[in-house]
């Protein structure tokens, strides 16, 4: 029997553990354990873990959750993610969480942080302003201060006060996890047939509810199995998928792209785990680890719709990524009504045009069920790419 299948099946179960059963089990296994949820894209998981709290990525309910109460909280012109997050909260599925952190990514998540305080007044809810100024003495100092404030709030909530060593160990654990992500993406770039994105996606997303070491174990096992069981390549077009960093596309949509003849060799799904490029460490001797995390954010965070493009030109990093991963075209896949993705798109498209990279775009919602139109569009795009590359 293939070793890949059970790994992928386990990853899928973890990726869509909307009831947080694994989080409950983890908390129950030892006293004084906390769990902190965080919204996309990035949160300082190292800090949570060093405090004895499991970081839990809240990525919405996708197409696996019936929305009963969440729709009553949002107008039709707001994206879908906050509805399903509110639904998860109001239905008690997030009760295992001791608090929620809302990073600054857009005004919807920003305002959701306030709604959370109003809807769940007894729960810890914290908005986390990520720096938009990248000078270490300005944005860096401010952000390190924010991280310290967050640490102090977690301690007030009952978390273990983290020592420097706790923080260093947490940074090392997540750095190891980041390296394994990098290895997984390197495999997908080199042999997309041996690491299809529909598998990579659930493997990465499984990290939403797992401790870092357990997740690393899962990634390691998959990498070994994928190497041991090579699969035949197909004549697919290599594409990058961009814009799906927050509200997640349904798994069937990702499979649809593959069935339409695309190898997704780069994507921005579940981005938090790789938002910092490379590693945070090694931390300098004597460096406060929270300063180290803040520094890594300033120096190594990826170009992203939620972050001011202070360095380089808009879209430069995307062009570079496309070239590095050998993508022949870009599929812009944005959630409907997602301002960050949709406002970024024309600027990124312009950069791609300058670099003669073909692109196409479509919108989706996390609970979309019909993919026929997307299948045809992606299929036509893949065919066109192949024709161009043959010409």
């Amino acid at each position: 029997m293939s070793a890949i299948e059970p790994l992928v099946a386990r990853a899928e179960e973890l990726a869509y553990d909307l009831d947080l059963a694994h989080v409950r089990a983890w908390k129950a296994a030892a006293p004084r354990r906390l769990a902190i949820g965080y919204l996309p894209v990035w949160a300082p998981r190292e800090l949570f873990w060093a405090c004895g709290a499991l970081p839990v990525a809240i990525l919405g309910g996708g197409d696996r959750l019936e929305i009963i109460k969440g729709d009553a909280c949002f107008q039709s012109y707001v994206c879908h993610l906050p509805r399903s997050v509110v639904e998860l909260g109001l239905s008690g599925r997030l009760d295992a969480l001791d608090g929620m952190v809302f990073p600054s990514i857009c005004d919807v998540i920003r305002n959701l942080s306030g709604m959370w305080r109003m809807l769940f007044p007894k729960k810890f809810a914290r908005y986390l302003d990520l720096p938009q100024n990248f000078d270490p003495e300005l944005g860096g100092a401010f952000f390190a201060g924010e991280l310290r404030r967050l640490r102090d709030d977690l301690i007030k909530l009952g978390a273990r006060p983290p020592s420097d060593d706790d923080l260093r160990r947490a940074v090392a654990l997540y750095d190891e996890n980041r390296k394994l992500h990098d290895a997984l993406f390197a495999l997908r770039r080199a042999q997309p047939w041996n690491a299809p994105t529909s598998e990579v996606y659930v493997l990465v997303r499984a990290g939403a509810v797992l401790p870092p070491d357990e997740h690393s174990e899962l990634l390691r096992a998959y990498l070994a199995a994928a190497e041991a069981e090579p699969r035949p390549p197909r004549d697919n077009a290599r594409v990058a998928v961009v814009g799906a960093f927050c509200e997640q596309p349904p798994l069937d949509l990702i499979k649809t792209l593959e069935q339409a003849g695309c190898y997704v060799v780069h994507d921005d799904f579940v981005l938090g785990a790789r938002f910092i490029k490379g590693t945070i460490g090694p931390l300098a001797a004597g460096e406060d680890p929270l300063d180290g995390i803040a520094r890594a954010f300033l120096e190594k965070s990826m170009a992203h719709a939620s972050v001011w493009t202070a360095r380089g030109g808009k879209g430069d990093e995307l062009v570079e990524t496309v070239q590095r991963c050998g993508a022949e075209g870009v599929l812009f896949a944005s959630p409907s009504f997602c301002d960050p993705a949709l406002l970024d798109q024309p600027m990124l498209q312009r950069a791609l045009d300058r670099a003669h990279v073909p692109h196409t775009n479509f919108k989706y919602s996390e609970n979309s069920g019909q993919f026929q139109g997307i299948r045809e569009q992606a299929g036509t795009f893949a065919d066109a790419i192949k024709l161009w590359s043959e010409a």
Binding site: L112, M118, T309, L343, M347
Partner: protein, 437 residues
């Protein structure tokens, strides 16, 4: 809605001297902008929330406010064309129409509201306060103009407070990022004494602005604090805060309003004065600009007067005592930026509405939710329920857009407003409710 005789007089609207004064001021400002290429005057594009007008003026740099241009385009009936142009150029139908309207205007020759051309920016000053879209908007303009761009990151009051660390972070950015950029743009050194003079003028005008809005506590209210209010905030939210013009305008306005109050008169509308105040409302959210007069008329026809609104606080919240302070120039600019309405968290916004309803003896409230604006709109349904539960006052929820006429349905808006007013009538017959603190 049927009911008692018209609440509004039918006389021709009289242009108040303050209105004429404002028109002159705005005309002169746009003329200065239009002639900037010849005079050599420098301009900086920036946003209303968190604007640093006094600082710009201290460098003799002229502010251009793209949001104001967008709303003016809508009032002139040009926004549909501009938005269509922007969508044709690749902007999504889902995103903020202010951005698209401005972008479309720029791509159509950048002709401003007075019919004169706007200058290309010498500086894009991104006061990143209270709205995520601002960042995207200026990335787009930077791509178009290639102008130097500075980002002033103003942290959000997520916990409902502006901390000392937040203020210090903004001050440091002013010192190390914004001021050097203005020095470079203008070719002048930073002159703190000049800045202080502007700030002292701001504080004077702010005092009068607060008095104007507080006049709505009177019965009948001499002003409409939403539809009329958007005119009152015009100078201070845009290019005139910190100028002698603003001081004189607000003195004139305050005088007129105090006189109306003394005479027991209601607000002036484009169709004439409201002669009988029947409903006192609080409104949350920006107006619709494409059908502004029609929207206002729906209220004034019913004798519904807006006694306070949140929109008139987007460019600064002065009611709690904040004033620009020449003794603490950069600190007070930072505090100003941090305190703008859309930089406040949702519980604070809801608490403000409750307070307005209580302090201004409102009968009910209305949320005008605009499709464009996640900053305002996301979470407004939670605000609605929270305010209703705390006040027991009826709340209406109306949806349209800022500058995209496709999303304004007069019949829907009218129906919602009427049912809110009916609920107020029903409540009047029952026990009067009061707001919980």
């Amino acid at each position: 809605m049927s009911g008692p005789p018209p609440s509004r007089g039918t006389s021709d609207p009289q242009k108040e001297p303050s209105m004429l004064r404002q028109k002159e001021m705005i005309g002169a400002h746009y003329h200065k902008l239009a002639t900037a290429p010849e005079t050599g005057a420098k301009s900086a594009y920036t946003f209303v929330p968190g604007n640093l007008t006094e600082l710009l003026l201290s460098f003799d740099v002229l502010p251009v406010l793209p949001e104001i241009n967008a709303l003016q385009s809508a009032m002139r009936g040009k926004s549909a064309e501009y938005i269509a142009k922007a969508e044709k150029l690749g902007q999504s139908e889902d995103v903020c129409t202010y951005v698209k309207c401005d972008y479309g205007m720029m791509k159509s020759g950048n002709v401003g509201p007075t019919g004169e051309r706007l200058p290309t920016p010498d500086l894009l000053l991104l006061s990143y306060t209270g709205c995520f879209t601002f960042m995207k908007w200026f990335e787009l303009l930077r791509q178009e103009y290639g102008a130097p761009t500075v980002m002033l990151h103003v942290p959000y009051q997520g916990d409902g407070v502006a901390t000392r660390e937040m203020r210090d972070y903004v001050v440091k950015q002013l010192k190390r990022v914004v001021i050097p950029a203005l020095e470079k743009t203008s070719g002048r050194k930073y002159d703190e004494d000049k800045l202080k003079e502007h700030l002292a003028r701001s504080a004077k005008a702010e005092e009068d602005l607060v008095a104007v809005f507080e006049s709505a506590k009177h019965r009948p209210s001499p002003i409409d604090a939403y539809f009329g209010g958007v005119y009152y905030i015009g100078p201070i939210f845009s290019a005139f805060r910190g100028t002698q013009d603003a001081i004189e305008y607000y003195q004139l306005l305050r005088g007129e309003i105090e006189e109306r109050m003394r005479l027991g008169l209601g607000p002036v509308t484009p169709e004439g004065p409201i002669e009988r105040e029947r409903y006192r409302l609080v409104v949350e959210g920006p107006p619709n600009w494409t059908s502004f007069r029609e929207f206002w008329r729906m209220f004034s026809d019913e004798g519904a007067v807006v006694v306070n609104s949140t929109y008139t606080k987007v460019g600064g919240v002065y009611e709690d005592g904040f004033r620009h302070d020449p003794a603490r120039p950069l600190e007070s600019l930072a505090e100003y930026c941090l305190g703008c309405y859309t930089n406040l968290n949702l519980p604070t916004r809801a608490a403000k509405i409750v307070k307005y309803i209580r302090d201004y003896s409102a009968d009910g409230f209305l949320i005008h939710s605009v499709k464009s604006c996640d900053s305002f709109s996301a979470g407004q349904l939670t605000i609605l329920r929270d305010v209703e539960s705390k006040c027991g006052k009826p709340g209406a929820f109306i949806e349209s857009d800022l500058v995209d006429p496709r999303y304004f349905s007069a019949s829907n808006v009218k129906n919602r407003l009427e049912s809110d007013l009916q609920m107020i009538e029903q409540q009047r017959k029952a026990e009067p409710a009061s707001c919980a603190p």
